[in-house]
């Protein structure tokens, strides 16, 4: 029997590193440090401006803590109402557009040309940030909430249709075969074998997208596509931090409420 002192003392256990191959590990570490140095050097911080900013920050904090809901209440109310209505309409249009595109983007349902077209549309919608899409729609429709509605509807496609298509591709094929064996047409096959499998998740995703659309509707106004964003931008550029604070508080509370409701509904659906 060995005494504890005879155990090899030098060998201390240490947890295995995240990247096992030492060459690759050191390459990642050195490259990261090199990138950080280069990246930080491009920041060229204007310290005088930052210092002025620090003073402004104190003023801003003081004004944020006493938000001014009253003096621009008319603008705020109109903006919030517009954001909410844009969200509702855009989510509904987004769902209506996403369902056929989602079905078309599922490889197990759609023939190749339709699949490629739908996937291309999804990629296009996912790649561009909402504000860039909003710029194009503002060029088309002029300033106003309609451009915002189109933006959010189009952006919803990238989210809803993609997840719906992935969901359809993962359905249980046994049910599809069973319905097809009865001699059902394509439409009947879809409505009796595919839709029941994906519809609970589609409802959940739609509610989640409503959340996202509300958040995005607060910013498309920056490029003139309606909603509270324009009012917020004006408040910031005038340094009216008390008004901006009031708007931010309203946005945060609204987002929290819808998020709470949507997570409640999604939990009940599951």
């Amino acid at each position: 029997m060995t005494t504890p002192s005879a155990l090899p003392r030098q060998r201390r256990w240490s947890p295995p590193p995240l990247i096992r191959d030492p060459w690759r590990r050191w390459a990642v570490i050195i490259l990261s440090i090199g990138y950080l140095m280069v990246g930080l050097s491009t920041l060229n911080i204007n310290w005088a401006r930052v210092q002025r900013g620090a003073i402004r920050f104190q003023r801003m904090l003081a004004e944020f803590l006493q938000p001014d809901f009253v003096s621009r209440w008319g603008d705020i109310q109109a903006g919030i109402l517009e954001s909410l209505t844009m969200t509702v309409v855009a989510t509904v249009i987004g769902i209506i557009l996403s369902v056929p595109i989602g079905f078309g983007g599922a490889r197990n349902l759609a023939p190749l040309p339709i699949y490629l077209f739908c996937r291309g549309l999804i990629t296009l919608s996912r790649t561009f940030q909402e504000v860039i899409i909003a710029i194009v729609f503002v060029i088309m429709f002029g300033f106003g909430p309609l451009a915002g509605v189109c933006t959010l509807s189009f952006a919803s496609i990238g989210f809803l249709a993609k997840l719906l298509a992935e969901d359809i591709e993962e359905i249980d094929p046994a049910q599809v075969e069973a319905i097809r064996a009865t001699g059902a047409s394509w439409l009947k096959m879809v409505s009796y074998a595919v839709v029941p499998q994906v519809s609970p998740r589609l409802v959940g995703l739609s509610i989640y997208r409503f959340d996202i659309n509300l958040r995005e509707s607060a910013i498309v106004g920056v490029v003139g596509a309606g909603g509270i964003g324009a009012t917020l931008q004006t408040a910031f550029s005038r340094y009216d931090f008390d008004v901006a604070g009031a708007i931010l508080i309203i946005i945060i509370v609204l987002v929290m409420i819808t998020e709470f409701i949507s997570s409640y509904i999604r939990r009940r659906l599951q």
Binding site: L18, R49, L84, V222, G226
Partner: protein
Amino acid sequence: MPVRISNGVKTWQRYDRASVLKQWAGWLATTVVVLFCWQLIAGATRWEFVADAPQQLAQFLSRAFPPRWSYMNQLWRPLWDTVNIATLGTIIGVAVAFPTAFLAARNTTPHPIIRPLALLIIVVSRSVNSLIWALLLVALLGPGILAGVIAIGLRSIGFVGKLFYEAIEETSIEPVEAIRATGASGMQVLSYAILPQVLPSFAGVTVFRWDINIRESTVIGLVGAGGIGLNLDAAINALQWSRAGMIFISIFVIVLLSEWISARVRKAII
């Protein structure tokens, strides 16, 4: 099982009368709300602008494409800035979200009073879009890359923090108990029992957020926070559509590229 009897014939139905009525009431309410919202939006829209939207689009496309390829020479620097904003912002976000997530997770929070505070940080950061953070920071720090980096960082805290703390809450209790049974301190339990369990998902979330941040940092320049958005803003204000077309293409490529990298890395980790 609800059965309807009409003319002495029994028909099976999926729902009974009360739930059918409830469903119809739900659809009716939804339709009314959507129509009401649509009416508000239609009222705020100038339809004569909408009527010539196809012409506007055709004109825009014919001016933007083919793009001015030579303009690409001036875009490398803004693109590099955009990537830097996204990467440095992600680093800031993760650095702040990491401790916050441990404070917010139910199983690792040091005190039940700290938990709601950490959750508040996460919720506020999540509710405010990075473009709004950018508006705020440009007002504070002046236009520039620094404002963009911090804006992206602030928005990332909420997203990353939420997914981090959910990962921590999903860890298995057994390694924790095993490490604790050896007499380990709280910090040792964290680093030897919890951290190894969550590190892969932390890395995955970080790369995922980086890819989203690339997309976000393409637009924050529109409010002056650096990156390619600055060039886009300048091109649009000067109506230089062939330049805008070039910018759209470069954004499309860079976002697709980042999405591809992020998907590859995430697949390698998991």
